[in-house]
Amino acid sequence: MALIETRGMTKVFRTPLKGPGLAGSVKHLFTRRFTDRVAVADVDLTIEAGEAVAYVGPNGAGKSTTIKMLTGILVPTSGEVHANGVVPHKQRIQNARNIGVVFGQRTQLWWDIPVRESLALLKEIHRIPQDRYEATLQSFNELLELEELLPVIGRRLSLGQRMRADLAAALLHDPKILYLDEPTIGLDISVKDRVRAFIKKLIAERGTTVMLTTHDLGDIEDICRRIVIIDEGRIIYDGDLQAVKDTFARERSMHFQLQHPPADPAAIAARVPGVKLVAGEKPVQLGVHFDRFEVSAADVVAAVMTEADVIDFHIDEPAIEDVIRKVYAGQLDLSAAEA
């Protein structure tokens, strides 16, 4: 069996139906009505050991709910969940020994004591032998610069510091699976880089399985090989990240800054078939959109330079961001990529 496996996993939430304002509240006192919200519907997921999976979706798509069911916090309304060989919500304590979780928006450290003591308490909770504990802290010191955080009291940590400390706390016991729920939210770029590097190292050296939910697509491109996209509780794509880009993010664009406005744009287009020319903001600007598998950038540059005087140009790479945006907007059907 795979490390993580779910079949038909579903979660339905029940919330009270209430009108707005005072009148609504009074009414609800008497007519107690509820509405069912399907947060996660029929999710089949298989994750092997050592994989790095990105779990992506718009807000409210069901990402956090999925993670909570995988970690045993929530009980699925229906369907099966297996992780680490157990059913998480049934054998919670056993499951907890093998997972580490980082919630970007909340910390698992204790508020009123220094980080050092939070980690010491976790050491006791996970029954980590002293020598292994010290070795782990040492490696964290190098990778996350943990040392400077140790004496700081939990509630006094800045966001970036908190994230590093939370990572240390989540990985102290060397779990097989690491769940990251929006880990880089609100972090500045230098901390983000450090966090990403740390996670990549983890995957490479310890074979930790990583499941990452995030809105930051930079995280995905840097860390993950596989992407699962969820929308309105259903998985709409599950596959290789590169394959998605190759299939759907084929368009590259180059932007030229010319000496004079192009005399004959049609001639440029004739030289490199299949490109699309777009006028820039100013008459001296020219954009060229092309399929990067059909036409090479060099050909485009050559074509433009032949027909016009080029001062400068730059290339926009295809980003997973564009694909995701289109998927969210419903403009893209990803089932073609899976075929």
């Binding site: 807000n59 909570k68 909770i125």
Partner: protein, 278 residues
């Protein structure tokens, strides 16, 4: 050895979690003293209340002043232990409402012990000290013939009484899983119902006596244990008459039942937990 460590480890871990809370509390020295003063004040007000009443009458339903003080103080002592060692139970509603229970569920430790040890109520110290003092004072005024057996019985009953209160706290606070507020309203109301047991329950109508003896056995936190030690005859309810000695001895059983109820309801509630937030 392994068995000892199986029981010992969780206790050590529990104490360590409590220790974390103590550090947090001691950060605010002024608050520490204010809380202590508050609990002493509350104890004192109750004592003054009883004293004012008993200046006019010799006894209530056959219960003399010092005997009533014992009953009254037993409630404080049980509360004191609860606040000092199990205060976290009262935070359950808050934890559930804010979804903060999540992290406790992600650790390989029983969530119940994590919840109970997540807070410490220093007022418990005040309750324990003053309540204990008042009980000691009362016992010195009462002419009880102390044999070894009687002392053992008293200690057993004291422990059971306290355990009953703890179990009831857990059971009533488990309501947090069913009610959608961050306050432990239901549990607190039940706690106040328990205040009825501060006085000899024989003053109440049968229905009320039955309520706090059978449904929510607060009477076993104070009245019955005390009555058993004082050996005060028998107790009559709905035509049934039972010697108080026997009822007092039922306290340990009631304690086990209440603790079991607490754990059971907590586990049931956990299944309904829906974890707030994104």
């Amino acid at each position: 050895m392994a068995a000892a460590s199986r029981i010992g480890r969780p206790i050590v871990l529990y104490m360590r979690c409590l220790a974390v809370q103590i550090k947090a509390v001691l950060e605010y020295q002024a608050d520490f003293w204010i809380l202590m003063m508050a609990s002493v004040l509350m104890n004192l007000v109750g004592f003054v209340f009883l004293w004012t009443i008993f200046t006019k009458i010799p006894d209530v339903n056959g219960w003399t002043f010092w005997q009533v003080v014992v009953i009254y103080s037993l409630v404080f002592v049980a509360e004191g232990v609860g606040s000092l060692f199990f205060e976290g139970t009262w935070n359950l509603a808050f934890l559930v409402n804010r979804g903060e229970l999540d992290f406790m569920l992600l650790r390989p430790v029983s969530p119940i012990s994590q919840v109970m040890s997540c807070a410490i109520g220093i007022n418990g110290l005040g309750n324990l000290l003053l309540g204990g003092t008042l009980i000691g004072l009362s016992l010195s005024h009462l002419q009880i013939h102390w044999t070894l057996g009687r002392v053992a019985l008293a200690l057993l009953l004291l422990a059971s009484a306290i355990a009953t209160k703890i179990g009831l706290n857990l059971a009533t606070n488990a309501s947090a899983f069913w009610v959608q507020t961050p306050f432990s309203g239901f549990a607190f109301s039940m706690h106040q119902l328990g205040d009825l047991a501060r006085y000899p329950i024989t003053i109440y109508a049968s229905a009320v006596q039955a309520l706090i003896t059978v449904a929510v056995p607060f009477a076993f936190v104070s009245f019955f244990p005390a009555a058993a030690v004082f050996s005060k005859g028998s107790w009559r309810l709905a035509g049934v008459e039972l010697p108080l000695r026997w009822l007092g001895l039922a306290t340990p059983l009631v304690a086990i039942y209440c603790c079991w109820m607490g754990v059971f309801l907590f586990r049931r509630g956990l299944r309904r937990y829906e974890s707030a937030g994104n």
